[in-house]
Subunit: 247 residues, 2 copies
């Protein structure tokens, strides 16, 4: 009987929590098969806990991509990470709570994105070009996060749904104040700014959803989606400008 075995995460994160006894493979206990011991750097207890916690979040994100969070079981996540189901409770009260944390993480990467756009020069055509480019770039880099938000936005877990809705609303408001700073719109009513921001946000959401739906091995499709998104933004902005401010 080996004394130290190391659970290995199924994929990407590769983060495996420290294991001390046997391997867990379902309720039926089995002897741990002989496992090549991997030497790990001695980590502090807190660090190891954080590592497992992250592994759980990663696993949740990965599994939610396949089945919807509502259909992902606590046991499934635990199995994926390589810990016993009951150990899950050391980190989260429920899958739902884990989901809420995923919402936060996902929107954090989104905020990073908007900051990047905001940093550019305030010329309309550049903004359009930049925005779409940055968006696509971030969808690539944070595909899982965007995917999670898109799916759970109307998914089966009410608390998660509401959290996402709230974040999107914040987003919309921020965009509205950004728009107010543009030269052509400084005289607009806040109402009109809100309406415009709402339209833009939803057009971008739709673009993200189309990007996510496009198979990864079709760069032509992606180019097409980008072109469409640019034109739509142009239509919206040009329209808003020439329509002026009728109230």
């Amino acid at each position: 009987m080996c004394s130290v075995t190391v659970g290995v995460g199924r994929s990407s994160g590769g983060s495996a929590p420290g294991r001390t006894r046997g391997a867990y493979d379902g309720d039926v206990s089995e002897q741990a098969t002989g496992v090549t011991a991997v030497v790990e750097p001695p980590l502090s207890r807190a660090a190891r806990k954080e590592r497992t916690r992250q592994a759980l979040l990663d696993a949740g994100l990965r599994l939610a991509a396949d089945h919807t969070l509502a259909a992902v079981s606590l046991r499934h996540i635990a199995r994926e990470v390589g810990i016993v189901p009951t150990a899950f409770y050391r980190h989260f009260d429920s899958v739902e709570q884990l989901g809420l944390e995923l919402v936060d993480a996902s929107f954090a990467s989104l905020r990073a994105m908007i900051r990047e756009v905001r940093a550019g020069e305030p010329e309309v055509n550049t903004i359009v070009r930049n925005s779409v480019e940055v968006l696509v770039e971030h969808v690539h880099a944070q595909r899982a996060h965007f995917h999670f938000i898109a799916r759970e936005r109307f998914g089966g877990v009410p608390a998660v749904r509401e959290a996402i809705g709230h974040q999107l609303q914040l987003f919309e408001r921020e965009l509205a104040t950004d728009l107010a700073r543009l030269p052509t719109m400084d005289t607009w009513s806040s109402e009109d700014l809100r309406v415009l921001a709402n339209l833009i946000v939803h057009a971008m959401v739709a673009t993200v959803e189309q990007l996510l739906a496009a198979p990864a091995n079709r760069p032509d499709l992606e180019q097409e989606i980008m072109r469409t998104a640019r034109r739509q933004l142009q239509m919206i902005i040009v329209g808003a400008a020439s329509w002026g401010n009728p109230r």
Copy 2:
């Protein structure tokens, strides 16, 4: 032991399949409690089958509203309808197949809607006003269907997801040919028409989603959403027109 008992659907549809023996209440068999026999009109076998089938579809739609279709079990649906789980297979191979049928049903009501809009006169302001009004009206009348589409559009059942995506694409194409018939757009390239139709469809989808998210007892919120939707449509159309046709 009573000879004829009648299962009663839990809610709306009220459609109950004919029952001949005992009541089913889980795997543990129980004697059917004395039930007041409800006199039913003698239906043909085919009619009774259709009735049960409809009851299953209704139950599926209702349950999917609470939990996402992927999280709804065959047993749950059967229980809701008042039949034994195994009887489900007499009507559908799986919950997924039932879901695909729900997609068809939902889009049928959507098509009815678009037909109504198309019937109106082709004047821009009237179109905008009409479209939004008809949309809201139909969301009220077919709330469950719209809800189903919104949720399952990115839900956990791949086949259902794809079916919905396909239907939306058809929609977009139809809208594009409609737009081509408008006086201001008869010279547009089909590419631009497609882009514009895409934008409009997604704006409307977003509107529906906002309507569905709004609590039913807040008519003021609904009015606000309608106003926003109208303005957005105006912005889009005005923008498209004044932007002209740069390619």
